[in-house]
């Protein structure tokens, strides 16, 4: 018995130190040294150093003057009753999707409600087919991107709310569109946070340039 347990125990400890401790710490050391921006979460900072978010993590946006991301199905514990959960879109401390199946009545209901809300905000959408990412919740609940089609759809609304010509917004969308990797992997996408950060500087400098 000892002849079996002793080497097994020693192998466990050696492998634990090698694979469970040394390996992740070595990757951490090297990653922090070589690629500190990515290793710390690709954070986006304001001029004064305030962390505005992560380039890779979606945020909740509201109001016609901003581009909106996809629906997010993330939840959080209810602060009044810890046994319950409440909707908390883009909760980056508890990722997850809706997990609603293809024959789910709750999903059909949610799609109808969201479609009506989108039409109320932009009446020209009535009767039109919408991009697939516009009404569907992402798997992570933190999708930072939208499709170029969804961005183009929001462009007139954002332009009107900000009182700037649509082609200037379109230029910003084009600037923040990322194509397929090597022309073949993945899908083209628009980073919502970066696009909205660019919108921020649009109004004031534009006046000085235009006149």
């Amino acid at each position: 018995m000892r002849a079996i347990i002793l080497p097994a125990l020693r192998a466990t400890l050696v492998m634990w130190l090698l694979c469970g401790i040394a390996y992740p710490l070595a990757v951490t050391g090297l990653g922090q040294w070589l690629l500190p921006r990515q290793a710390n979460g690709s954070l986006v900072k304001a001029a004064d150093g305030t962390i505005l978010g992560s380039q890779l993590i979606g945020q909740e946006w509201s109001g016609p003057q901003w581009f909106h991301g996809r629906p997010s199905a993330t939840i959080a514990a209810d602060t009044r009753d810890s046994a319950k959960t409440i909707d908390a879109p883009y909760n980056a401390a508890a990722s997850g999707g809706s997990n609603l199946g293809p024959t789910s009545r709750a999903l059909a209901q949610r799609l109808r409600t969201d479609r009506r809300a989108a039409e109320a905000e932009q009446p020209e959408l009535v009767g039109r087919n919408l991009p697939a990412d516009m009404l569907t919740a992402s798997g992570s609940g933190l999708d930072p991107d939208i499709s170029p089609a969804y961005a183009a759809l929001q462009m007139p609304r954002v332009a009107a709310a900000r009182g700037v010509p649509a082609d200037r917004i379109a230029a910003l969308i084009a600037k923040n569109t990322i194509g397929r990797a090597l022309g073949i992997f993945g899908e083209p996408r628009v980073s919502v946070l970066r696009l909205n950060l660019d919108l921020r500087g649009l109004n004031e400098p534009s006046r000085t340039i235009d006149h």
Partner: protein, 576 residues
């Protein structure tokens, strides 16, 4: 699906195929003690480790019993260590969020899940585990469980090549260490840097507090993710650092990282088949098996892609575009990420279940019914390449049965690689085969009549049954992915799934090691004109047929009750 989508899929598979050949030969060199270019450095590392474990233990020859016993003892010690870390993580370092220790029954489930390469998770990573636990209790077994599956398969193959009657199928510790230091560690280390470059974090911090410009705060979970992510996929493990697994933008930030993770999942199980051909000195035989596995993969993969792109009536009624166009992905995007689209999500879903990894980059629970069927098939057959080592053994189970049936049909003694396959082997092989359906179908049926089983369902009607069936198939196949709408963190599911994982993993391995012992003891017969050739295209087709007929007969009724019935209900516009 656009042409670009299919091209992307073809390219991913082609690269894996091309890589599996040199990697398979490298694996064979390691197992057969041939020289490799890393030897000058790694021999020293290995010798140091041998000294720590004990020179005698790491050098003496082991027969099938000794090999199996040392494997089981090591796995047991590791499982206990993992359990203790999880339960007592509040007393351990790197826990700034002051997360409590894991509840004992959930920790039992988790320890078993990770030591067996399953990585089923009834917890959400970022809300449950400290960074210390993520490294020392989760990243750690991702190496050792993959290695365990691999070395067992190697010992099994040696049974066909040894000439000493089976007294030496190798030394478990030596195999274990060599595979870790020469394959898993270096690859994981280098590719972790690639992932960091793509945007995967690697830090000991647990959260970052951000201040979005629209006001409020967003607390972002973070941690040593890159080191976790590479071995998770390379070792066909699959557990997520975060609850959303590889759908989370930190785990899988770009289409390039998505390509890498898919390739890592598929690399070693396919290379292992090439390694098999090298070890037995018959590359043709290796390619026949490779062909059988690849044929199944190519058969089921398009079903998922086409079904996900076609979408659902519910989505169509909401006026959602179903066709992919140049500027939006189209199809069923519920639970999928824009950067991956339909092709990158569907391919990932089929690879993760075929190679039984269990990592997900989209929520399988939200897949269309027919889109999910190939995922079920991957886990139920277990050998559409299958997980590290174990998928190979499952293929051999079917192979030996095919040899036996073919031998009976043509009236010849069943032989495989020069060894006769007789009653004792077939009994053991049949037991190994039957455990799998038993531990999937029996407990999933029980869960559907027990109130404590039904109360966890996240979706209604057929889809609810699919959630339960998926959970048990995933556990028995040591996959770990989920129809995650099922609330699996209950005493029933933590215990039942934990036991299914155990029974789905170790008894089949033990039976197959016993087969190895029995085969190794037999003399190797010379090939004559009377020998039934197993390295021919014809036998490959027969092998494939055996898998499909036996597998289909076993699992088809369950699939009809779940996803297939739901597909019919769906096209007729029913919702539940």
């Amino acid at each position: 699906m656009t042409m670009q989508g299919w091209l992307q899929i073809a390219l991913v598979l082609l690269i894996v195929f091309l890589l599996s050949i040199p990697v398979g030969r490298y694996l064979a060199a390691i197992v057969m003690d041939r020289k490799t270019w890393l030897d000058p450095v790694l021999d020293r590392v290995d010798n140091g480790i041998y000294r720590l474990i004990g020179r005698d233990s790491t050098s003496r020859p082991m027969n099938w019993k000794a090999y199996t016993v040392h494997m089981l003892a090591t796995n047991l010690c590791m499982a206990v260590l993992i359990y203790l870390i999880l339960v007592f993580q509040d007393y351990l370092p790197l826990n700034p969020l002051k997360l409590p220790g894991m509840e004992p029954i959930q920790a039992f489930n988790t320890a078993i899940s990770f030591i067996t390469n399953t990585d089923w998770q009834s917890y959400g990573g970022e809300t449950t585990l400290s960074n210390f636990s993520q490294m020392a209790a989760i990243t750690f077994p991702m190496f050792t469980s993959a290695t365990t599956g691999f070395v067992v398969a190697m010992a099994f193959i040696r049974a066909f090549t040894v000439r000493d009657g089976g007294a030496n199928l190798g030394n478990f510790y030596r195999d274990f260490i060599r595979f870790t230091t020469r394959v898993l560690l270096p690859l994981s280390f280098v590719l972790a840097l690639f992932l960091i470059w793509q945007g995967t974090p690697q830090t000991l911090d647990a959260t970052v507090l951000t201040h979005p410009i629209q006001g409020g705060q967003q607390s972002i979970s973070i941690g040593p993710v890159a080191s976790f992510e590479t071995i998770k996929h390379l070792g066909t493990n699959g557990g997520g650092f975060f609850n959303a697994n590889a759908a989370h933008p930190f785990e899988n930030p770009t289409p390039l990282s998505n390509w890498l993770l898919m390739s890592l999942m598929a690399l070693l199980p396919s290379a292992l088949v090439v390694c098999f051909g090298e070890m037995i000195g018959n590359r043709r035989q290796g390619w026949v098996l490779y062909g059988v596995m690849a044929a199944m993969l190519l058969l089921i993969l398009p079903v998922t892609i086409i079904a996900e792109q076609a979408g659902t009536p519910t989505l169509a009624q909401a006026g959602i575009e179903m066709a992919a166009t140049g500027d939006q992905p189209g199809g069923n995007m519920e639970g999928k990420e824009v950067r991956f689209g339909i092709a990158g999500s569907g391919l990932f879903g089929v690879i993760t279940t075929s190679f039984t990894t269990g990592s997900v980059n989209s929520m399988h629970d939200s897949f269309t019914p027919m889109g999910a069927v190939p995922e079920f098939i991957g886990m139920m057959l277990q050998n559409v390449f299958g997980g590290k080592g174990v998928g190979f053994l499952a293929a051999l189970v079917y192979g030996l049965i095919a040899v036996f049936i073919a031998g009976l049909m043509v009236g010849r003694t069943p032989e495989f690689l020069g060894k006769t396959i007789q009653r004792p082997e077939i009994i053991m092989v049949s037991l190994a085969l039957l455990i799998h359906p038993l531990v999937i179908l029996a407990p999933s049926s029980w869960s559907m009549i027990a109130p404590y089983g039904v109360s966890s369902l996240g979706n209604a009607a057929m889809h609810g049954y699919s959630e339960v069936l998926y959970a048990f198939a995933s556990s028995a196949a040591n996959n770990g992915s989920a129809f995650a709408g099922l609330d699996a963190n209950t005493h029933w599911y933590n215990l039942a799934l934990g036991l299914v994982i155990l029974v789905g993993r170790y008894p089949p391995i033990i039976f197959m090691m016993a087969v190895a012992g029995s085969i190794a003891a037999k003399p190797t017969l010379a090939t004559t004109v009377g020998t039934l050739k197993t390295d021919s295209l014809k036998f490959g087709a027969f092998w494939l047929g055996t898998i499909l007929v036996v597998g289909a007969l076993t699992f088809f009724p369950a699939l009809v009750l779940g996803p297939i019935a739901e597909a019919f209900a769906m096209v007729h516009g029913y919702t539940y």
